[in-house]
Assembly symmetry: C2
DNA sequence: TAAATTTCATTTGCATACAAACGAAATTCT
DNA sequence: AGAATTTCGTTTGTATGCAAATGAAATTTA
């Protein structure tokens, strides 16, 4: 195998993976995910944590709206809510005002998890940003915010 | 449902999702992924494209090494290679020097795909970075590089 | 009001992403 | 050389992430 027009390892000299924003976004996300898993309490994943935090703020949200608040589409937030449901961190029920909606609310157990996770949550961001100086950390956050 | 310690939507005032780097990395990645899918040729995904580009540069790499070059673990790169294999963009074979290794090489068809995708690939980065001024684009790239 | 459109939630299918466990092969250590 | 360790690839299981299709319910339009 592995033969063909083997000669010159021609790479479109003008296109390098290392110059693409997507490649670095992926690498940075990977590093963050690893740091997150290392520090977060209750084995909560980044998306589960995001959903819990938003529910702690808003008390009760429709499932899709919760997804919008946490940047997850309908299919994704459903899976996340299902897993939080299984662990007793949230509960769901019909919206009396809108037959289409599924209301999601945080439970006492979920609130405790948020209390436990807030500290580690801050550490995770700090640790992720550690390679940068404070001013650079601010700059990165600002640039990323404006990118989305 | 949706009752409990309902009262105050207490959110750990000190912890806001919007201040966390992980949240914005996820949002930025999502936007990039959408732009990528919109512009890339041959329905190649970001990881498939990354693997093809690296193979166009190196001609032939062991599967795990290809994964390292493109920031994918062994399980992930295997799936990517399998899909590229199915589409005829790469071919594989044993490494005569190392019985453990699986060599992966790009095919002529794969090379054509890389030629077709290089232009769009550049556009994808440009479009993703469009909300930022040129100097800011450079700064973001630099900061992300140093983060990983 | 009736019809067209939109929203909400669900389901299926495909593609990353990674942990963990496994066997085979190579390398290092003693 | 023989044993311990490491590397390589594979497989399984879990968790995003999103497109597309579906049905039910609400809203908008005509």
């Amino acid at each position: 195998m592995a033969r063909g027009a083997a000669q010159r390892p021609i790479a479109p000299a003008d296109y390098r993976l290392e110059d693409q924003i997507g490649f670095h976004l992926r690498r940075a996300s990977q590093r963050h995910t690893a740091i997150f898993a290392e520090h977060m309490t209750d084995d909560l994943t980044p998306t589960q944590w995001a959903a819990l935090v938003k529910l702690a703020e808003h008390e009760s949200l429709s499932q899709n709206l919760l997804g919008r608040e946490t940047a997850m589409d309908a299919a994704t937030i459903k899976g996340v809510v299902d897993r939080l449901l299984r662990r007793g961190f949230v509960e769901t029920g019909p919206d009396p005002h809108d037959g289409r909606r599924m209301l999601v609310a945080i439970t006492g157990s979920g609130r405790q998890a948020v209390r436990r996770g807030a500290g580690p949550g801050g550490q995770i961001t700090a640790e992720t940003l550690k390679p940068l100086k404070p001013a650079e950390q601010k700059a990165l956050l600002d640039l990323l915010r404006r990118l989305a």
